[in-house]
Symmetry: C2
Subunit: 519 residues, 2 copies
């Protein structure tokens, strides 16, 4: 039996345990994981609070050393990860290797960011003792760590948004300790990475409270974690209901804290005009690739396409359905996701006005988590009359919505909720003719694409993986890219401090040579 990791110790071996399930065959894996006790949660938060004080003094170099050491450490265990992740998640080997590389790449990206040091938004206002009518004092400000961060592992990114994924990496980079809640679907993967984290903390002389890993349920362990007064911010990737529950807990604390929950998005695709045959073929291929990538289990999976209908629309719908029907059913990540997918399909397909153009046949007796593709079609009149068509169906299905006119496309645009992405397909002239529409779309998404598909999120400084509610709970944030660090830092101003007692980033001689705004 395995228990939680509380700093350099192990948590309680409580009576309540769980096992992971192989989604390929539905069989339980052998290891039992003990649910974290409330005392485990308290202990993890307590040592995190202590660690926060020490880590606040870490410079960029010290943080970079740890992040790079951990990146190397994760690369080293790639083969072990392939093994356990295939058992726990059914993900194919190339995906596991790719996600491992993304995870270590993210850690190195943040190492570079904090070593360079420009991210702290250093601002300097020098004193003007002679100013009339009042002297101006010396004020200098920069971003400083928020304190301990609770991170929730994502089911669909067992590495890149889990134990040492983007949330943890950005929190550590900001100088914040991390208390991670493992996802029930891949505890062994979490534990393997967690042990590597602990090794690296020790090797880099970091305090043990910089990291803990808790096993348990969201409604008990997760909510206890978010309620703990030592926790100062939350990173979450998951369902709308799960994110909303944590947001509500965090908002109703005596001291409310920010929750950065990435929750739900149908990532609309807007087709401005009929396409010629070749473009239609390329578009349909690209859409199919994007909609089925990772068995449709990416946050940026395109769930709905607004297209101009007519004869072209009919050809497009049938051609897309044909392509999607050629995609063989694959296992989803776990039973809960598959169950939610099938329920979503049932709900949508029985909604008046929706035609099921294609749905893969599935053996519902299959003990694994196999899921096939689905293509549904409807008219914008129906979509506008039924809000439930806007709800995310997480999986490889697409709803194709034919609109009649630019006016109706504008109506659709006004009606959709906040999204991670919106993708436009058309000519340059469409960008001119639809200026107002695009201005509206901008209010609905964090990332707008032109003639590209939304999956395959680039990890880089410019990316925005965020968006208005319910895409995320805080549209001013991104959980991917260097901007993710800004979630876990807050500005602090030092007024009248002697130079040598200022943080080095703010000292007069700028010893780090970072970019600063100076007056």
């Amino acid at each position: 039996m395995e228990s939680s990791i509380i700093g350099y110790s192990r948590g309680d071996y409580s009576a309540k345990t769980f096992q992971a399930v192989n989604p390929s065959n539905g069989e339980k894996l052998s290891v039992h994981y003990a649910f974290a006790s409330y005392s485990d949660v308290d202990k993890a938060c307590e040592i995190a609070a202590d660690a926060a004080m020490e880590m606040a003094g870490f410079d960029g170099k010290k943080k970079a050393v740890f992040l790079r050491f951990l990146a190397d450490g994760i690369d080293e265990i790639t083969d072990l990860l392939v093994e356990i992740m295939r058992l726990e998640t059914g993900l194919p080997e190339p995906r596991v290797r790719g996600e491992t590389g993304r995870t270590s790449g993210q850690l190195r990206m943040f190492a570079n960011l904090v070593e360079e040091g420009n991210w702290v938004d250093a601002r300097i206002d020098r004193a003007q003792p002679e100013r009339q009518p009042l002297p101006k004092p010396d004020l200098r400000s920069m971003l400083r760590p928020m304190g301990p961060v609770a991170v929730f592992c994502a089911s669909n990114f067992p590495l890149a948004f889990s134990v040492a994924g983007g949330d943890s990496a950005s929190a550590w980079a900001a100088g914040c300790p991390v208390v991670v809640k493992a996802h029930h679907a891949h505890p062994g993967t979490a534990l393997l990475v967690a042990e590597k984290v602990v090794d690296c903390l020790k090797a880099c002389d970091w305090p043990e409270g910089a990291f803990s890993l808790l096993f348990g349920e969201g409604r008990t362990v997760g909510q206890a974690l978010v309620s703990n007064p030592s926790i100062k911010a939350v990173g979450f990737t998951g369902s709308r209901s799960g994110g909303k529950a944590l947001f509500d807990v965090a908002s109703s604390r005596p001291e409310p804290i920010p929750v950065f929950a990435e929750m739900s998005s149908i990532n609309p695709i807007v087709v401005f005009n009929e396409m010629d045959d070749q473009t239609t073929e390329e578009f349909t291929d690209g859409l199919m690739g994007s909609a089925t990538l990772g068995t449709g289990q990416f946050c940026t999976n395109p769930g709905v396409v607004f297209h101009p209908g007519g004869n072209w629309g009919k050809t497009f719908v049938s051609s897309y359905a044909k392509k999607m029907s050629e995609f063989s059913p694959c296992p989803m990540l776990h039973k809960g996701i598959r169950q939610a997918y099938l329920s979503g399909l049932n709900r949508l397909s029985s909604t008046p006005g929706i035609e099921v153009v294609h749905q893969s046949e599935l053996d519902l007796q299959d003990p694994g988590c196999l899921a096939g593709t689905c293509v549904m079609s409807t008219h914008a009149d129906n979509f506008l009359n039924d809000e439930s068509m806007m709800d995310e169906v997480f999986g490889p299905s697409t709803l194709l919505v034919a609109y009649d006119s630019k006016e109706q496309l504008m109506e659709l645009t006004k009606r959709i909720e906040g999204q991670l992405t919106i993708s436009l397909f058309g000519e340059n002239s469409d960008l001119i003719e639809n200026e107002l529409l695009i201005a509206f779309l901008e209010t609905k998404a964090g990332r707008i694409l032109f003639n590209q598909f939304p999956t395959g999120v680039e990890v880089c400084p410019s990316v925005v993986h965020g968006g208005p509610y319910p895409a995320t709970s805080d549209s001013r944030s991104t959980s991917v890219g260097t901007g993710a660090i800004l979630r876990f830092a807050r500005p602090i101003c030092y007024q009248g401090f002697p130079d040598k007692f200022l943080p080095v980033e703010l000292q007069e001689k700028n010893p780090l040579g970072i970019r600063r705004s100076e007056v």
Copy 2:
């Protein structure tokens, strides 16, 4: 009778009205102000939503023209403001003139900021079509306006944090329309400024929805405003209960929105050591000046002093009480504030362990809002045992807390809630000896001062007027200084857009010559 201002029109002349009261004599002023109807609120939000679409296309220059035009306009009506503000608030003429200058100064500061354009955090990742295994797409991101912002006028800054104050100025600068709820204590001041805003919008060819002013109560009009789906963020300066109520409304909307509420702070002063006679004299003078400035009605008013006690402490306490007793009672801003001040004093003075060293005698039959100073004294043992001593008493009173040891000072530090400011008084050597203490203090405040008093907040790029809860509802924000604009903007990423269809800030040739992070 006056009614609300809804864009370029007037709101309903509803039956429910209120009048302002002269706090110097308790007499009602003659003008009746009609409460905004719910239809007024809806209309203001509806036109704000329309204006948001148009304003999202405004460049920095167009925004700067309006902000400067308004700054000039406010300077022009200074004499009129002196007249009406003295009636509505009892504030002395120099304060009104000073606050007018601060208000127009803030507008010009934001004009400069958006004209220069660096604030948008432009990030560019150029395409790498040849990259293996996958080509890198072109991604570019920048901060864009959040949408309509609800602003609540502060009672204690009838100009600088009201109709055209820091919240509105930063929202307009970000490109967001503003719907302002007037404070009941100074509706005439609000109306005078609002009419100037409307004139300037017309002159600068801005849409009418860029501004509305609503009269009414927080619990009805204010909450209806925050509940309106068109509103995307909230700026508030006021009481803890008022800010919390709005935060709860905003968090429980179907689409939760961020609330930037600046609420409550006792701005602790930490004295590390006994001082010599001259330093004591200077410190006591400075503390008295800071504690009585604006009759103690500033958010950064120092409400509590932790001092080393002993014989020096006794001298300090009696000397400070003597100085405070020389301060003549002045009118507070309105009856509600004075009532809260007197209740707070009663509560504190009857708390076991607290000694009232000085309290100005007041004629409680006086129809005005006169308030005098108060100095109370206690020991850290009592303070640590009674959380209620940490509650803000808004007004010219100070609680002096003697501590026995550095360990006890650390205990005090750990116990206090989030603050706008914490001020340290001592020698450079104290900054070395108390490194851990200062690290702790940093987690509790947005601004840390050394040998300076917290009032007289400098309006500049480096200032942070924010802090952990309950100082503000979002410690990652500041409501003063150029950083205030960041509250009302969110990053948007454009992927694969042809150069000429990108916002000008992100175009390849950088026609504005702004600072950008480029890869």
